[in-house]
């Protein structure tokens, strides 16, 4: 057991060293692909807190994301306050909004698909409202006027944030609170019977997740140097991330990373397809969601749902057994 942990640690360190070395070898296009991937991985980890550990299918995260982005861009472009203030405002507003969402859903015990639809409403209300608010630039959005940083800087910031989220997820998975959440996900009544308060736990998780999501939104705003309704509030990245967590393994430390990297790899591969110009993006989504449907259904075919992580672990174990046998 000890040696296996050591091996995992060495592999992890090697992977990080590789990722730190990587950006110097890549051109602009691949850098943007990688940065986009890290930002999605980050979102996958923050969604995983609510959707993976607790099984709460929240669609409000695109609003938490956008709140982070808008607060950051507004404060750093128009009002010219420090970066920290922009981040803090995003986190505070997003947490408060998550608190409101949680209060309404859990006070009135709205669950299942009603919860998904309620959170969708909570994400769509600000998305539609922002078009009417001139202060936030209405449909044109907001731009940051200062020149953007070097792509390498964004890469390292995004990488550091992803590693931080992995650390938080690891701590959660190995602490009482994370175990409580998984218990709630698997059997709420049983969990309640041993003294776990479902609404309190779910509220804490949603607020924590929203605060972290807002930080990711701020990074996205800084990277693109703008916040615009149809980009910042776009629900499609969130759907992609939800699917990635489902495919990769819910409530696990490596699952979200695996899922997003897998879907992004698929996207990169399918960008080589011969497609009429101007339709490439739609074609990528088409391939991605088609493959996503088949994969999710494939993993869900048994009595218990599998994941990419389980699949890889099983292969790894088989290989080790083969080595030992020979």
């Amino acid at each position: 057991m000890k040696s296996r942990q050591l091996l995992a640690l060495v592999l992890f360190a090697a992977a990080i060293a590789f990722l730190i070395w990587l950006p110097n070898q890549l051109n602009r296009h691949w850098m943007s692909v990688l940065i986009g991937t890290w930002i999605l991985v980050y979102l996958a980890y923050t969604w995983n807190i609510v959707g993976g550990f607790l099984g709460q299918l929240s669609l409000a995260h695109s609003a938490f994301w956008a709140i982070g982005a808008y607060s950051y861009v507004l404060l750093s472009s128009k009002l010219d306050v420090s970066t920290a203030a922009g981040l803090a405002a995003g986190v505070a507003i997003s947490s408060a909004y998550a608190g409101l969402t949680a209060f309404i859903s859990y006070r009135f015990d709205i669950r299942g698909h009603y919860f998904a639809l309620l959170t969708l409403a909570f994400s769509e209300i600000p998305a539609k409202l922002v078009y009417n608010i001139n202060f936030l630039g209405a449909s044109a959005g907001l731009h940051i006027t200062t020149p953007s940083l070097a792509p390498q800087t964004y890469y390292y910031i995004a990488l550091a944030m992803v590693l931080g989220m992995m650390g938080i997820t690891f701590l959660l998975a190995h602490s009482r609170i994370g175990i409580r959440w998984i218990a709630l996900r698997d059997n709420e009544q049983a969990a309640e019977a041993v003294g776990i308060n479902p609404s309190a736990q779910k509220t804490i998780a949603l607020i924590l997740s929203a605060a972290l999501t807002a930080l990711g939104g701020a990074l996205h705003g800084e990277y693109l140097h703008l916040a615009r309704p149809e980009i910042t509030f776009d629900p499609r990245p969130l759907i992609l991330v939800i699917v990635a967590v489902f495919i990769g393994g819910r409530g696990t430390v490596l699952g979200p990373l695996l899922g997003v990297v897998f879907l992004r790899a698929l996207e990169v591969l399918s960008s080589a397809l011969p497609v009429p110009p101007g339709r490439l993006d739609s074609m990528l989504v088409l391939v991605e969601s088609g493959a996503g449907i088949l994969l999710v259904l494939w993993f869900a075919r048994g009595r218990t749902s599998g994941s990419l992580l389980d699949f890889l672990l099983r292969i790894l174990r088989l290989q080790i057994q083969k080595k030992l046998a020979s």
Binding site: I104, F108, I125, Q189, G290, I293, V296, L297, R301
Partner: protein, 310 residues
């Protein structure tokens, strides 16, 4: 008078909203299947009607039966892939898969039609009715759609209440296990219900196309409208026309009194309000009656609750 005008046009568009909700309520109530792609099915109906009317030079309303047939075929193909494997696997899987299906269909529309708006051909006919010295305008396409919807929902209601097959469907809705015990083929009935629901979506799409514009991203909004109308009516087919009309009036009046874009926000605000009012432990529940949770959802607490009741 402006207000009266907006109430009338709200009532007329409410008919189609009722049809959106009807298809959604059929699949949710009877199969326990949450179809987030329902709105995209409607958009498919709209695009089919649009292309058909471009190609044949007919009005979208005349093409409605053909569009409905195409949607039947599409649903028959989609059922074994999307619905059957997820039926008794809980709401999370259904939501993820149907959200993906929505993404898939939206991307498909983008590839075929690009992201442009498409409007129905020709000048919209409008009848003017003079009342005293003010004028009431009624769009003919909306009026025809309303009449068609009332006819279809009435026929569907009679079918479900009186025909043997309708009784089978209602039996499966109220108690799937019991229906299986007395020898009904629940799987085939689920299949038929999904086809019926998708057919409603196609018909609604063709009717919508006769007076409104279509773009690839309408799907999510239409799903929300469908869900809203069906939740407002408590999944009961009887009250779905009233809640569709109520919703149409609220949307239209909010649009007139405040602004068009506020009407979209109002839709979601009403939605939250309806969910809160209908929640099982809401203090206002006695006003409206609680949500009837889908019986086949694997939501443990809901399932346990149902077990206690029955």
């Amino acid at each position: 008078m402006v207000l009266f005008q907006s109430v009338v046009s709200g009532v007329l568009s409410g008919g189609v909203y009722a049809l959106l909700g009807l298809g959604f309520a059929l699949t949710l109530g009877s199969l326990g299947f949450v179809n987030f792609a329902h709105g995209s099915f409607i958009v498919m109906g709209m695009y089919l009607a649009y292309s058909g009317s471009q190609w044949l030079g007919l009005s979208p309303i005349l093409l409605a039966p053909a569009v409905t047939m195409v949607l039947f075929v599409f649903a028959a193909l989609a059922y074994p892939v999307i619905v059957a494997p997820t039926l008794r696997k809980g709401h999370e899987l259904q939501i993820v898969v149907t959200l993906l299906l929505m993404n898939f269909l939206t991307a498909l529309y983008e590839v075929i039609y690009l992201t442009d708006f498409h409007a129905p051909d020709g000048q919209q006919k409008t009848w003017l009715i003079h009342i005293g010295d003010s004028v009431l305008a009624i769009e003919s396409a909306k009026l025809i759609s309303f009449v068609v919807v009332i006819a279809v929902t009435t026929a569907l209601h009679l079918f479900l209440q009186h025909s043997p097959f309708g009784k089978f469907i209602r039996a499966c809705t109220s108690n799937p296990v019991g229906a299986q015990v007395v020898g009904l083929d629940v799987r085939r009935i689920s299949w038929a219900v999904f086809l019926l629901g998708s057919g409603c979506a196609g018909l609604a799409g063709a009717l919508l196309m006769s007076y409104s514009v279509v773009e690839p991203y309408l799907g999510l909004d239409l799903t929300v409208v469908a869900f809203l109308v069906s939740v407002m009516s408590g999944m009961a087919l009887r009250s779905i026309v009233y809640s569709g009309i109520m919703f149409g009036v609220i949307e239209s009046v909010a649009g007139t009194l405040v602004s068009e874009s506020f009407a979209r926000v109002a839709v979601f605000l009403i939605f939250i309000l309806v969910l809160v009012l209908r929640a099982d432990n809401s203090p206002f529940r006695s006003l409206l009656g609680g949500l009837r949770r889908s019986r086949r959802g694997n939501d443990t607490a809901a399932a346990a609750g149902d077990g206690v009741k029955s």
